[in-house]
């Protein structure tokens, strides 16, 4: 039984990882079309670094990701802290809405925001993407911060209040330090979400603001290419790095 379950685990992990590992290996293969190994090369990575279109999309994506995840982290933290600390009218409704937003298929979020922007005559570009990405990341931030808060001993707030701390002092001196690992994780995960989002961006992006995931999408439609292998390997590496950092920052208590 033990052997069978180990084999099963191994098989599933192979299924999850072999395609990605193959992709990374091919990004170093010294041949444009062949599936055989023709020796190691950095050529595809060098080619990327001279592709000015891709670089400008990457810069756009990073600018978008940094702004979206910063604002989403701020808003999401306010939301999680309010849900956790206060009792207010509509608390359950807020909780439920956040929860619905996570489940809502991306395509519904994308198309409904497109309808909003076009009804309001709002130009599609950086700001429409920014609003969409903040809305996408917000519920994930709330979940990360909220679950972090539930591990905190509530008496600490009572104690601080008894000792005469004002609300802003509680926020600065207690909440922020306690939440820092959660904030880091939430920010990094939001950034990955923003960098990877295809469906929502597809509907709310405009012609004057190219972003990386959409450009990858249009490149990938044309087929397998070593340059895309190199580009996607880099993005995969960033994702792994960010997930690892957030994982370990959340784990240390």
């Amino acid at each position: 039984m033990k052997v069978i379950s180990r084999l099963f685990l191994l098989l599933i992990y192979a299924f999850l990882y072999v395609p990605i590992i193959v992709l990374i290996i091919y990004s170093f293969n010294n041949s444009q079309y062949s599936m055989l190994w023709h020796g190691f090369t950095w050529a595809w990575y060098q080619q990327l670094s001279s592709d000015s279109d891709l670089i400008s999309s990457a810069v756009n994506s990073i600018a978008l990701g940094v702004s979206a995840s910063s604002i989403a982290t701020l808003l999401g933290t306010l939301c999680a802290v309010s849900l956790y600390r206060y009792n207010f009218k509509g608390q359950k409704l807020l909780y439920f809405t956040v929860f619905l937003l996570i489940l809502m298929p991306d395509i519904v979020i994308g198309t409904s925001l497109l309808i909003l922007f076009s009804t309001a005559n709002f130009e599609l570009g950086f700001f429409s993407l920014l609003i969409a990405h903040i809305t996408l990341c917000l519920p994930f931030v709330v979940i990360v911060i909220y679950s972090r808060l539930t591990t905190v001993d509530e008496n600490i707030f009572e104690a601080a209040l008894d000792l005469g701390a004002t609300n802003s002092i509680i926020f600065k001196r207690i909440l922020i330090p306690l939440l820092t690992p959660g904030l880091i994780a939430a920010w990094l995960l939001s950034f990955t979400l923003s960098l990877d989002d295809v469906i929502i961006s597809y509907f709310v992006s405009g012609p004057n603001f190219q972003i990386l995931p959409l450009q990858i999408f249009s490149m990938v439609k044309l087929g397998v290419d070593p340059e895309i292998n190199a580009l996607t390997s880099i993005i995969f590496a960033i994702t792994v790095l960010f997930v690892l950092i957030s994982h370990f920052s959340l784990r240390k208590k």
């Binding site: 999850l16 091919y26 599936m35 802290v81 298929p105 309808i115 979940i143 999408f217 995969f236 994702t239």
Partner: protein, 283 residues
């Protein structure tokens, strides 16, 4: 009091954001789904049901049923693979468990576009899977897998498996082990224990995993785009098509509305089947 200023500030900011960019867009979508597509304007406001009635025609119904069936296959496959997988991980020693879990979390956060692209290399006619099967001698001619529905299913299972495993894991992890032990003590065999004790306790995890897999399986339009053939149009592709190529927004909105209704029904099923304590631990 200062207390109240902060509370007021944060709650109003959050509500403002959610109302403006989540609720209002959805309400607009609902309104537009009853409108008509115009010649010059995209939308002519009116109230009629024809966008919904239109859907009851052969071509739409076929895409609809195909999407539902395909998504159901994907959901069942991920559940069949994911359940034992999550169960085994939950029952390994603490030390390995963290590593194993991390290895599921990484693909969870990795772009599914990138992962689907990686699948192309594997499924191509001269790809790794065919080479491997030829080498094994299982087949003598390379199989045409890419650009078929099979490839779409493989791609969706590959992309969505982590989304099934994580909620299942969270649920199995919290399983009341004493009930399992009690059942065994009372003479239940492994099968009965599994069916009568373990499965009922993990129903909420199963339903949440299924919701998180089923809906994207119908709507991630780039997977059928990349891996499927001309006949692999799914609900997501249909919505995309109505919005960007056919310029029939009301029709696209109507399909999105139906999709959302579908989600709410599944959610209601989840609500009915979970204890209130579990509801807060969803995800």
């Amino acid at each position: 009091m200062k207390h109240d200023t902060f509370k007021f500030f944060s709650l109003s900011t959050i509500w403002l954001w959610i109302i403006l960019f989540a609720i209002l867009p959805f309400v607009l979508m609902l309104v537009i789904s009853f409108a008509t597509a115009g010649e010059n304007n995209l939308v002519v406001y009116s109230f009629n049901l024809h966008n919904f009635l239109n859907l009851i025609n052969y071509a739409y119904l076929r895409i609809f049923t195909r999407s539902v069936f395909l998504a159901a296959y994907v959901t069942v496959i991920t559940l069949i693979i994911g359940y034992p997988f999550a169960y085994i991980i939950a029952h390994t020693s603490e030390r390995i468990k963290n590593l194993l879990l991390l290895l599921v979390i990484i693909p969870f956060w990795t772009s599914s576009l990138i992962r689907s692209y990686a699948m192309i290399t594997i499924l191509k006619t001269q790809g790794l899977l065919n080479s491997f099967l030829l080498w094994l001698g299982v087949i003598h001619m390379p199989l045409q897998i890419l650009y078929t529905n099979i490839a779409v299913i493989i791609g969706l299972v590959y992309s969505l498996l982590p989304f099934m495993v994580l909620p299942l894991y969270a649920n199995i992890e919290r399983l009341d082990q004493s009930l399992v032990d009690a059942a065994r003590d009372l003479g239940a065999n492994r099968y009965i224990t599994f069916k009568r004790v373990i499965i009922p306790q993990t129903i909420p995890g199963i339903i949440s995993g299924c919701i998180i897999v089923f809906l994207p399986a119908m709507t991630i339009f780039y997977i059928p785009d990349l891996l499927g053939g001309a006949k692999s149009m799914l609900l997501g592709n249909l919505i995309q098509d109505q919005f960007l190529f056919a310029n029939n927004w009301p029709q696209g909105a109507a399909i999105s509305v139906i999709l959302t209704a579908f989600m709410l029904i599944l959610l209601w099923l989840y609500w009915r089947n979970s204890r209130s304590k579990d509801r807060h631990e969803f995800l």
